[in-house]
Amino acid sequence: MPPVQLKPQTASSRANPSAEARIVRINGPVVEATGLSRAAMLEVVEVGRERLVGEVIRLTRDVATIQVYEDTGGLRPGAPAYPTGRPLSVLLGPGLLGNIYDGIQRPLRAIAETSGHFIRRGEKPSPLDLERRWRFTPSLQAGAAVAGGAVLGTVQETPSIAMAVMIPPGVEGELAELAPEGDYTVADIIGQVRRADGATTPVRLANYWPVRRPRPSQRRVRMDTPLVTGLRVVDVFFPIATGGTAAIPGGFGTGKTMTQHALAKWSAADIIVYIGCGERGNEMTEVLREFPELQDPRTGRSLMERTVLIANTSNMPVAAREVSIYTGITLAEFYRDMGYNVAVMADSTSRWAEALRELSGRLEEMPADEGFPAYLPTRLAEFYERAGSVETLNGRRGSVSVIGAVSPPGGDFSEPVTQHTSRFIRCFWALDRDLANARHYPAISWLSSYSEYVNDIEPWWRHQGADWQELRITLMRLLQDEVRLQRIARLVGPDALPDDQHLILFVAELIKNGFLQQSSFDPVDMYCGPEKQLQMMRLLVLFDRRARQVLARGGTLAEIREMPCLPTLVRMKSTIPNDRPQDFDALRTRLEQEFDAIERRLA
């Protein structure tokens, strides 16, 4: 076995430190260095004796402005700078799943082992375990013609996820060599591709990819499948398509993170990339502690086996926060290219935008809205456009769905980040302060949220033989009527409303408490499968129809309110598990019988 140095591919051979390059100014995370006239924009430059990682963000003659991803305290003018000749890249290979990284893909578990409980500067452990051996099973043979994306074989990364070992995009030729089935480290060469010009390119289990460059695919495909999330208010009223984009804006305490956690747990994605961008450390700890113990309702395996965490918490360096969402989405694209459906949770994109603002301010750029740089919308658009459902280079279908939390200052949705984000997403889950105050979670407002995917995915539900569209429209109409009636009641007093309007208020309460509100802590209610969602909707619609019938035949609302099955109806979400549809049939029979009894009395 030849000794292999796992190094990112360099564009040129300038990887040696330039003797000239030295620091001339330090202003927080922004450092200026001279002697870097040959450095490229967005090239990684390491600064100081501790070789802190940074990225070139501006070039003026031979002065390069570098944003540094670590604390720059103690750095002084005159200290050396080392250009590396490569853009900021992540290492893609087996061992990503179940791991936790910081914004520039440094493994936090490995750092905890070497530097203790507090993160020391200048730590640069490999993102993937270089010692660990993975069983590689080839699926091609030497001599085959291959191009970027071609699958050479597989590595069972976790019991539920098989990682496809692919030719890196941009490499094309004849597969000159391919290693036999066996155990290899990520650094071992497992194949050689002979290109048209005769030179060979080695292929390893892990390869680098620059984070700011989207990974290529063949073409985009139509999004026609919902990403089932198990959250009723989302799946029924504001569904997101597999490969779609959604934003969750909400003031503090409205439950953005709780909603993101619930989505990360129960979404029908194969892989979850959870980016904690400028948020709390304890929230990442919670994921680390909770996910391994939870079971994926579809595979029965631990949720951690399909999850990668990117944690750049609010107290970690701000420049690394800026890059963390690119790191996350690049990992997502990597799994998409194997044909998986990946969901990216970015919590919170506002913190990312603020990092952009802070760096922009240090560069003394002219600010636009509220101090944010003028290129904020461009950057947001670039990020959300990396989502999508695609046909991959190897002809599979994969997708990246992006769900970004937005934290508007003062809960005011007219601020720049919320406004610009809503231009580039197609699902808007607005969190409502009043709902959160009443501890109605998820606090997704059914009045100000929207989804543009409803018509795209409606055929999917119809294909399941489901009356999903009719049911959701009926329920939504009731909720909208309720708002209108509440407004009237506020003017004329509730007593002035006739019984049939009181019934609407009553049924709307039932929908809110018995359907929309969903507990993340109740073992039965935390995940609600599509079948159960339909059953619940049918019962509510049935209740509404029969109750109106009772009123039409001269019955009173008081009689309906006294129905013995009501406490069961309002608690069906937490008493009937997903796998007991027959219980809904029983409840339905009971409901019909009680209505029949009322009608018999009336007749």
Partner: protein, 458 residues
């Protein structure tokens, strides 16, 4: 090879809290600078921006009395540090850790960088231990857990200090008998406030367990920037090296943020909202995130920052950004305060994010999560009905709505209201909650299970 000891004579420019020096060599970002004023007094500062030709220095003790020609500056080559040691417990210090109580200097060789380092999220232990504060509106509805950061959002004139002092006196764990060691940091508050806390701790006999870092209203404003960092550095030492459970009270964060704004403005930085710098969030996070527990270590840091909301506005940048970082907030309500309700803890906007994992079976009691959720739901209904009654008159309300009104009054008068020295056990708090819910008909209590209703309601 640093120019330690090398003194630069003369300053180029003095502007607000900032000093500009030219021609300095080999100075590092974040270094501490000692400036000798013409009258011979020594002031401390910190390097904010350094290039080959120029250093921008922020003076902790203000620039009053400095002159450009007759002042001298010495770069120490290290970042701001404070001495730490167990014998500091019980002392009163200034913002940079020098004695303020007239007693001699602390004798220790241990010095720590006040900026600390980020706790690795992987090394954190999720906080789960219920702290009984003896205050029902907190224990029952917005539970505090050990290692949490839970601020008090208050307004001028409201009793945030009394509440913080009551919590400091009464806080205890159900299972273990450990006292909290208290680290108290005052930024720009009046002497009377500091005196109030000292008296309160003396009265309860806790004073020997309290370390105070005081930077009062008449101290230079920039010192406020380093005060919480000194306090938290000391708290980290107590918690993660001496294995103690520490409760850190930081008051008043609004003053801290204003000092930050003052420095940002003097540096001509682009402001974001209300003149505060764009990095206010990151800066606050660098303080608030220094709370929590670390896996495998016995100690913990629980933080209780206090801030006064300018004109009671919760959307002001200081409470707003704080709320985004901390794990919930206890909001004091002006209206309740005017109705002489103590503690005036606002029912709805208050929140504890870590509550869910600190309560319930095996921690407090099985029904705790559900009763809390039900109380919030019912009280939010009360607020709606009160708004309705204000328009149509309370006589016009339906019988059910009238019950809700009755529940609301009972809830405020008997669940929320309690004495400043009244220490309620969690069982008493839960019982008070059930007592209030009994006003409502059974069918309204949809967030409680049938079993819970049978056991506690019927």
């Amino acid at each position: 090879m640093h120019d330690i000891g090398l003194e630069y004579c003369g300053l180029q420019r003095v502007d607000g809290p900032l000093v500009f020096l030219e021609g300095v060599r080999d100075v590092a970002f974040d270094d501490v600078v000692e400036v000798t004023a013409p009258d011979g007094t020594l002031r401390l500062g910190q390097v904010l921006d350094i290039s080959e030709t120029r250093a921008v220095v922020q003076m902790f003790s203000g620039t009053t009395g400095l002159s450009t020609a007759a002042s001298r500056a010495r770069f120490t080559g290290v970042s701001q540090r404070i001495a730490v040691g167990r014998e500091m417990v019980g002392r009163i210090l200034d913002g940079v850790g020098r004695p303020r109580d007239g007693l001699p200097d602390v004798l220790t060789d241990e010095r720590r960088d006040v900026n600390g380092a980020s706790i690795n999220p992987y090394s954190r232990e999720y906080p789960r231990d219920f702290i009984q504060t003896g205050i029902t509106s907190i224990d029952l509805m917005n539970t505090l857990v050990r290692g949490q950061k839970l601020p008090i959002f208050s307004g001028n004139g409201m009793p945030h200090n009394q509440i913080a002092a009551q919590i400091a006196r009464q806080a205890k764990l159900l299972a273990e008998d450990v006292r909290f060691s208290i680290v108290f940091a005052a930024m720009g508050v009046k002497y009377d406030v500091a005196r109030f806390f000292i008296d309160s701790f003396e009265r309860s006999g806790a004073i020997n367990n309290v370390t105070m870092f005081l930077s009062l209203a008449d101290d230079p404003s920039v010192e406020r920037l380093v005060t919480p960092r000194s306090a938290l550095t000391f708290a980290e030492y107590l918690a993660f090296e001496a294995g103690m459970h520490v409760l850190v009270i930081l008051t008043d964060m609004t003053n801290y943020c204003e000092a930050l704004r003052e420095v940002a403005t003097a540096r001509n930085q682009i402001p974001s909202r209300k003149g505060y710098p764009g990095y206010l969030y990151s800066d606050l996070a660098s303080l608030y995130e220094r709370a929590g527990r670390i896996a495998g270590l016995p100690g913990s840091i629980t933080q209780m920052p206090i801030l006064t909301m300018p004109s009671d506005d919760i959307s002001h940048p200081v409470p707003d950004l704080t709320g985004y970082i901390t794990e919930g907030q206890i909001v004091l309500d002006r209206e309740m305060f005017q109705k002489h309700i103590y503690p005036p803890v606002a029912g709805l906007p208050s929140l504890s994010r870590l509550m869910k994992d600190g309560i319930g079976k095996g921690r407090t009691r099985d029904d705790h999560p559900h009763i809390a959720s039900q109380l919030f739901a019912a009280y939010s209904r009360v607020k709606e009905i009160r708004a309705l009654a204000a328009v149509i008159g309370s006589e016009e309300l339906s019988p059910l709505d009238k019950l809700y009104m009755q529940f609301g009054d009972h809830f405020e008068a008997h669940v929320v209201t309690q004495g400043e020295d009244e220490n309620r056990s969690i069982e008493e708090s839960l019982a008070a909650g059930w007592q209030a819910l009994k006003i409502l008909p059974r069918s309204e209590l949809y967030r409680l299970s049938e079993e819970e209703l049978k056991q506690y309601y019927d």
